[in-house]
């Protein structure tokens, strides 16, 4: 009888410390609905890293972690594109209304989080003198003929005078390429380059920084070489 009571007494504290037992589920591991995730790193790696690279660079699409890109692109620009995607390209629309999976709040977290995570302060002068990043702010329309000349000056050394590619960098005038990228993409690449892949930004691409109008002209020249998109798919 005595031993029974002793046993019970011993068990009481055990019951108390049960709460600290290893098997007790940790609320931190609780399943969170994808729409309730608010952690930038999780959101970025689940939704964007596939194309934009694990660390925001060295992916096939625009290196979103490029500090200069983050200095020039407004969060509104990034949010807009993330929400609605880029028509005619593989950049998908992520907003739920547009058929995606992210809430407005999550899109804002990503857009702001990019700068917090990867942005670096840039000198105000450089940013002020930089060509505007968004196509919508590019000013007077570009002139393809002047663009061809600027292209030879600034870009020819790597992409070839006609843009057909050299050993240093590939062609950017093939119709399939031009047919699958937006002017915004061409403009973004022309301005910030692909520093992760060895293409400098507008300041270092030639002997002097490119002027905003030169950027616009080059993009106009590239865009002028688009062949109207074949409409039917290949299945026939």
């Amino acid at each position: 009888m005595i031993s029974h009571r002793l046993l019970l007494l011993c068990m009481l504290p055990m019951l108390w410390c049960c709460d600290g037992l290893p098997g007790k589920p940790d609320p931190a591991n609780r399943y969170i609905r994808p729409t309730e995730v608010t952690n930038f790193d999780t959101l970025y790696s689940m939704n964007c890293s596939g194309c934009h690279g694990a660390e925001g660079k060295l992916g096939p699409a625009v290196p979103l972690a490029d500090p200069m890109y983050l200095a020039l692109a407004s969060p509104i620009h990034i949010e807009e594109i993330t929400r609605n995607g880029v028509a005619g390209t593989t950049m998908p629309a992520f907003a739920i209304e547009a058929g995606g999976t992210l809430t407005d709040q999550q899109i804002a977290i990503i857009a702001r989080g990019l700068s917090t995570r990867w942005g670096q302060p840039q000198s105000a002068e450089v940013v002020a003198a930089a060509p505007p990043l968004a196509v919508s702010q590019e000013g007077p329309p570009g002139d393809p003929e002047r663009g061809a000349a600027h292209f030879r000056t600034f870009c020819g050394s790597c992409h070839g005078p006609e843009g057909r590619g050299t050993a240093r960098a590939g062609s950017i005038v093939e119709p399939p390429y031009l047919g699958l990228v937006s002017n915004q993409n061409l403009r973004t690449n022309t301005i910030i380059g692909r520093r992760d892949l060895g293409m400098p930004d507008w300041r270092q691409v030639g002997d002097r920084p490119m002027r905003p109008q030169e950027v616009t002209d080059i993009v106009a020249w590239l865009a002028s070489q688009r062949v109207p998109r074949p409409s039917s798919s290949m299945a026939n």
């Binding site: 098997g23 609780r30 689940m46 194309c51 699409a61 590939g170 062609s171 399939p176 892949l197």
Partner: protein
Amino acid sequence: MKIFASIYQWLDDRLALGRLYDQSIGHRIPASASSWFYVFGSATLACLAIQLVTGTCLALVYVPSPEFAYASIEYLDYTQPFGWLLRGLHFWGSNFMVALVTIHMIQVFLFGAYKYPRELTWVVGSTLFLCVIAMAFTGQGLRFDQDGYWGLEIVMSILGRIPFVGMEATHLVQGSPIISGATLSRFFTIHVFVVPAVIISLLVIHIRLVLLMGISEYPVAGKKIDPETYREDYEKLVERTGERLMPEGGGKDLVFTALILTAIVTCAVVIGPKIPNGPADPSLIHTVPRPDFYFLSLFAVFALMPPYMESFSIVYLLPLSIVILFAVPFISRGQERHWSKRPGAIITVVLVMTSLVILAYEGLTSPWSPHMNAWSGVPIQPQFVQGRTPLEHVGATIVQGKQCRNCHSIDGTGGKRGPDLSGVATRLTYNQLVRQVLQGDGNMPAFGRHLSPYEVTALVSFLHTLHPENEPPSQNSAPEAAPPLSTDPY
């Protein structure tokens, strides 16, 4: 003390307790039956007791409705004091029960204990086995998380393949054309009322049969069963060497049962219950569901089998194996009980168990469902981006954007339904790649309708770069129609 004795006498007079004891746990068994090999049945019974107790407690909290089922599981896990422990005990109890009942069957099979006169004990036992599986299955369905939901989906699609009545059968089980609240209510009723009632009734018969026929003596090689004399011999054996099941013969059962109970409690306390992985909502496809371990092999069969075999095996193989299970005592009628004289029995067990283990392993590692968010969440590794042209970069984003990655890994990461694409250019020429993408093949859907010609060009020029540096891409032996195009006007 005297008063206890008289109370006992009073009760015994009315309830015949002494006789009950003599005929049940006090009945005499052959001494050879008190063996470490004979402990699995009673341990399974102990698991059943745990399941009944913990299950009843869980049912006090659990709400069998689609809105609240998942929430009530989370309530148990995080809010209700010791709710998690209850869930843990119930979860591990079921795992142990499935394992033990299987071992029990293997033991009975290898020891030839199902032979004359215990054929019916085997048949009832096999039904019990199926009931335990049914409990495990309906139980994981009650969790109503993505694993459970997905398990339901698979079983429903299995049911749906039954010829002629497939639709009706699924409808009957689901309670509606789709998996819904009605399905959950049915599973709850089946799990809480129907199957337990069946189990308890069958168990009564099973144990009654065990008592009636006596526990089989430890088999002796070369000793044959002769239906003419078996019973007589058995009775003599019991008379000669017999001992009471309790307290003498069953000591090993008690020890083993105590071990199992300790193991269950330890698992529940240390590992804990299975944390539900997200509410069962078909629109949430962000996890890769896996059923509980005992279904892994079953599901692996269906995941790995070519589609044309699936229906065949569902319609014939599955029912056939159940029939064979029941028919064991009637098929294997040899008079030998000892396994050393029954190589067939050993081979059968080894074959069945290895294939189950291999299948379970496949089930654990094989990608039967695509990796649903690989397209946006699994990066194209830098080595496949560097040194590629802009067009190839666009092609890489198409591999992602068109969700090829959900089925295909590249250098090991991504879905695993199709082959890894990192060396695909060494296997297929440019034109073969085009054809593969446009027309699909086997389990790969045709993308012809979903890709514009530009996209095909970009995509395939990227795929064409996927080869190790020291191994050139596969060349067209005879140049086919469309060569790699750069300025093709379409």
